[in-house]
Every structure is written in C-alpha cells, then in structure tokens.
Symmetry: C2
Subunit: 358 residues, 2 copies
Amino acid sequence: MAQQEARQRRPSIHDVASHAGVSAATVSKVLAGVTTVKPENAQRVLNAVERLAYRVDPLASDMRRAKRRIIGAIMPEFESEFFGQMVTELEGLAEQRGYTLVAASSRESEAREKEILARMHDWRVAGVVLAPVRNEHGPAAAFMKANGMTGVLIDRVLSDDAFDTVSADSAAASAEVARMLVGKGHKHILIIGLAEGAATVRARLEGFRTQALALDPSIRIDVITSEVSVEPLRSSLRDYFGRGERPTAVYSLLLKGTLVALSEFRRRGWHCPNDISLVGFDDAEWMQVTWPAIAAVVQPVRQIASEAMNLLFRRVEGAVGPPSARLEPCQVLERESVGSPGNGPHSGGGDRQQPPLS
Amino acid sequence: MAQQEARQRRPSIHDVASHAGVSAATVSKVLAGVTTVKPENAQRVLNAVERLAYRVDPLASDMRRAKRRIIGAIMPEFESEFFGQMVTELEGLAEQRGYTLVAASSRESEAREKEILARMHDWRVAGVVLAPVRNEHGPAAAFMKANGMTGVLIDRVLSDDAFDTVSADSAAASAEVARMLVGKGHKHILIIGLAEGAATVRARLEGFRTQALALDPSIRIDVITSEVSVEPLRSSLRDYFGRGERPTAVYSLLLKGTLVALSEFRRRGWHCPNDISLVGFDDAEWMQVTWPAIAAVVQPVRQIASEAMNLLFRRVEGAVGPPSARLEPCQVLERESVGSPGNGPHSGGGDRQQPPLS
DNA sequence: CAAGAACGAAAAATCGATTTATCGATTAGA
DNA sequence: TCTAATCGATAAATCGATTTTTCGTTCTTG
C-alpha cells in the first residue's frame, strides 16, 4: 500500500538528500553547480539523483524567486502561418535558456489581451512578448507599464517609450513593392488594408505612397481600408470595382486583404496578372503553388523572434537604458501575379497561355 | 524606500489578512467559497481584496495540490491552420475551467515529443492533450503510461488501450470522397500520402479503397506514399506522371500532399478540373479563393477539441473505466477542383471557360 | 599554542498559498 | 449548573524547492 503510494509520488529533494546522506541544501547546491561542496558528497548526490530519476520541480523551484522562469507570449491569433511560426520560434528560444513559454491568443480582442496579461502577471512571468492586436498604445501595454512588467512588443508596433520593439520594416518593404509596380508601368494602383490605426499598416501605406509618388508624381493611388473586420472591406472592394474603377494593380497590406482581393477577382473572372496584378504583405506556403503564384512580402519571422528574445532577456537580467526600436528587413518575392499593365487583354484568354513550366 | 518596495511587491494573502483583521486561513476560505465564515468577516476580506487589488498567485496555490491546474498540449506543429485552431480552442476550453494551457510544438519529432512530455510531467500538469507525431504507439504515449499521467490522444490516432482518443472520422470522410469521385465517373485515381505508419492515414486510404471498389470493382487505384518527408513524395509524383501515368483524379491524404500535387500540376501546366481532379484531406482558408477552389475534407476542429477536453477533465476528476475512442464526423466540400473525367480537353482551353461567378 | 580565518555542511527561514489540528466561545442537553 | 456539542476562527503544518544563518572543523598565523 505504502509502496504503491511511494511509486506514485515523485521523489522530492529530501528523498535525494536522505539517499545521499546529506541535507537538502547540499543537494540544491550540487544541482545549481555551486563549487563549495566536497567532490565526494557531490558524487553521492549525483548518484542518488540518477538512481531515483530525480528532476527538479520547476514550480517549487520558482516559488522563491521574484522573477520566475516563465515567459509569456501573446499573439493576436494562432491560425496564420506567421504567428504559428512566431510561437514556434519563441518557444525554442525560451527553452534554450531554460524557460517555459506560455503562449496565449488574444483572438484580436484588446479586452482579452489585457485579461491574459493580468493572468500572466499573476504567474509573475519574468517577461512578456506581446504582439498587440492594434498597436503599442493599447490597454495591454498600459497595463504592463503600470505594473512594472518587463516585456517586448513585436509586429504591429513601431516604437514605444517604455518597451523595446521589434517589427518588420514595413515601410522599406512597401517602398520596394512600389518600385516593382511602378517599374512595370502601373499608373493606377489600389491599396487595401485593415485597421489603419495600426501604426505598421500606416507605415506600409506611407512607405508605398511616398516611394511611388517619388518615382512617378502622376501616379494614381486609391486606398480602401476597413477599421474592424474583413467583411466591410469585402463589400467596399466590391463597390469600388462595381462603379467601374479599373486599377491595374492591387497591393494588399495584410494577408486577409490578399484573400479578399483574390476572391473578388474570382467573382469577376479576372486573372492575374493579365487582368490585374496583385502583391500582398505576408507570405504563405500556398502562394507558390497556386496559379498564378502570388507575389508577397516575406516577413523575417526568425529574426524578429530572435531579436525580441535577446532584448527581452537583456531586460530580464536587469539591463537599463532607453528602449530600442528595431526594424528587420523583409524580402519581396516577385511572382507570377505581377505583370505589366495591358500585357494581356482585359477580357478573353486565360493565364493558360503563358508557359507555366518553372 | 519601503513604500516603493511595497508598491513593487504584490500583496500576498497575509497582506489581505492583516488589512481585514483576520487570519490568512480565513482569507483563503472566503476566496474558496467556504460557507463557515461569518458574513461580516467575509465582507471585510472582500473589501481588503478589493482595496489591495489582490489576486491569488496560481503558482503558490498549486503548490499544495498533487494535480496542478495546468493542462499541457503537444502539437506536431503550430504553422498549419488545423493545429492553430486546435490550440486556440483548447486554450479557451482550459481557461473556462480555470486552468492554464501550456502548449508546445514537437516539430514532427518523436524524440522532442517525449522531452516535452517529461517537462510537463515535471510541472505535474493535471492532464495532457497529445497530438502525436506518428500514432498512439509512440514513445510519448508510452512515457505517459509509465508515469501514470492522465491524458487524451487526438488527431493521428484511432484507439488506445490506456488513453481516450478523439479524431476525425477519416475513413467515413474518405468513403464519401470515394463516392464523389466514382460518382463522377473516375476510373483511375491516384492517392498520395505521407507516413503510412500513422493509423489515420491508413484509415483514410482503406476507407477510400473499400468504398471505391464496392462501387466499381474495375476501378484502378494507385498509391504513392513517402514515409518521412515531403520531398521524396514530390519526386515520386514527378516520376509517376513522368512515365505517362494519367489518373483522372488525385486524392491527397493530407495538406502537404495537396500542396505537392498542386505544384506538380503547375509544373506540367495542368488545370483542375479539366485536366485532372483534386481533393485534399484538410481544408484551408485559401482553398476557396484560388482558381479553381480546391475540394477538401474539413475536419471538425471544435468538436475534436471540445470532446477531448471533456474526456480529459472527466479523467482528471477521477473517472475510471475503459478508454473511449471517438470519431468525429468530417464535412466534404465539393469545390471546383473536382469534375468529371474527360469533361474538358486534356490539352488546350483554360479553366477560364467556365463561368466563375459564384 | 591560542585566536582568527576559511571551509563545508546542516539547520532554519522563506516563497504564498491550502489544509489540518487546535482552541476559545457560544449553545444545547441532561 | 455542569458537561458536551457546535461554530468560527486561528495557529501550525505542508507543498518542494532556494537561500540565509548557524555551527562545527580544520587550517592559518602571530
């Protein structure tokens, strides 16, 4: 009976101590690598650890520290490749340093974002990687500030007066997209986006506009945005085309917009790039297998994750000084969805007529 | 100075106790909803909690329980829509019950899977939702068994002698795909898949084969699988078509296979459904905006997640009895990528010729 | 050779809660 | 009126580690 219980209960540090014939404090020191332990005793501890298959309980171990070896990660969603990769990267990086990553999805809600943050504060996490729903001025960042939490803001941020920030260099990437499209002769371009309140989306917009106008002041740039959800954007786009607007290229500032644009093209029977060109911010695996392959801006997920974790741990270890605002360079992939305007007839003839062998 | 420290340090249960003029035990009882506390004292505790903005430290709170209010979730990856949604659902479900979900990615490695599990065991999680890399017979499930952990296996599993399992009804869905394809007159069908060792992939294969042969014994079914990674599958497929094989439809048993098939079609200039039909297991958002839209089997993510959590918490609360093996029904979406064989010419004419307005 | 420094390890305090044992006061019963 | 039962609350033990304090020994050193 007692045997069974003993088999169920995991060995504690005291079990190791008594097996090794030393005190719990000594065991703790050996495991922590403190050198003031006699080699002989250290060996006995190690043997006991081995024999009992003892492992430190991270929960109990964290009890006595102010900063626990837990890192919180808050993403707007888990469903997209971008944030999925981001969590994977962050998890690996935290693990490397002996920390546990607790990831949570704010589901695109600022209210939920703040609740999650409060819960992470309850856990007394050592630090937080926050990808805010909107931008760095939301209630979540305010909460972190008010409670003296250490953290890094990523993705939908530009800079902050309290936290380090890391994001893709949206403006530079958008300028490159502008060079690409203007270079191919486009003179009427539509930009679609969501949540213009997000600083990064605005940066993407301005980065494009500035570069495009610099290259060709006569260029016409239309902008359609929707503040909240995808559906208004969809109907705005439908209306826009419905009243006869015919831009020769569309630049979507985010993935959902790319999907909306594609489905609208479908509805109208338009093909890329003959009828219209398309470039989207954010790449996805499927974009290179569809026909045509969709041109996209690739965000440097690994660099963002790694830089964010570096900055975070620097702060966790007590670094002071003004917050830094990092921008990581993107890569623009020019694929088949981009062509020159008027290259193909606006009606008739499928994309089939181009040699597809790649 | 002391003031500042006090402002930094979060209030503990003792701070609340002294503010309310009662003992810590009483505070604990009030917060736990024990009724043997005088209403007057309960009110004073509640007031103190309010004034100090006190919140229970979940870490300390969990110290004294054998099963902590933490649920572990292990997924093969976070990058796909399926597992992204799964984690989101599981997180919400755990949260509803006052538990914290700690998710980890095994990155399609059984070794890593076991390591993660060992770490979760260190945390003494109350339960684990494991989506194994291969199947229910891997080292991870064995570890759980050996250490008496409670858990539920999902997705790439059929049934187990120790744990409850929940997965999509792959066989039934595949049979429905078979009915669809055979019903449209296909007599030569190629099935592509990965990791045939995974029980579910085999179930998908057999579910399809059985139904297809029952409907038309003369049907020809070719199968191409690759044990490990995607690349061998890609080259096998290339060889297969290269030596002149011309099935009229392809059924991919998993998402990665669908992508491989599409890119191979691209390379050869084939269009769906005129040149070849395509159906894939696993749906994705992009599949309805591409041209053609890709027919797919939709897995019931929410039902799987919810059923898994129900079963898990039943076990956490001590339920005994033989493990159950649940299969949740899928939905088959017939989209444009599926047509009748010979419907369009095998060479010439794009999919453009079909009215796309949907 | 005695006082002090250095060393190694054990004892005890600590982290922040929960739970059990204990205790005093009030009420009930004989 | 005295003992027993009940009620409410406190003190103390507990969870499993870490860290500080204390305490013998041994080694220096004047």
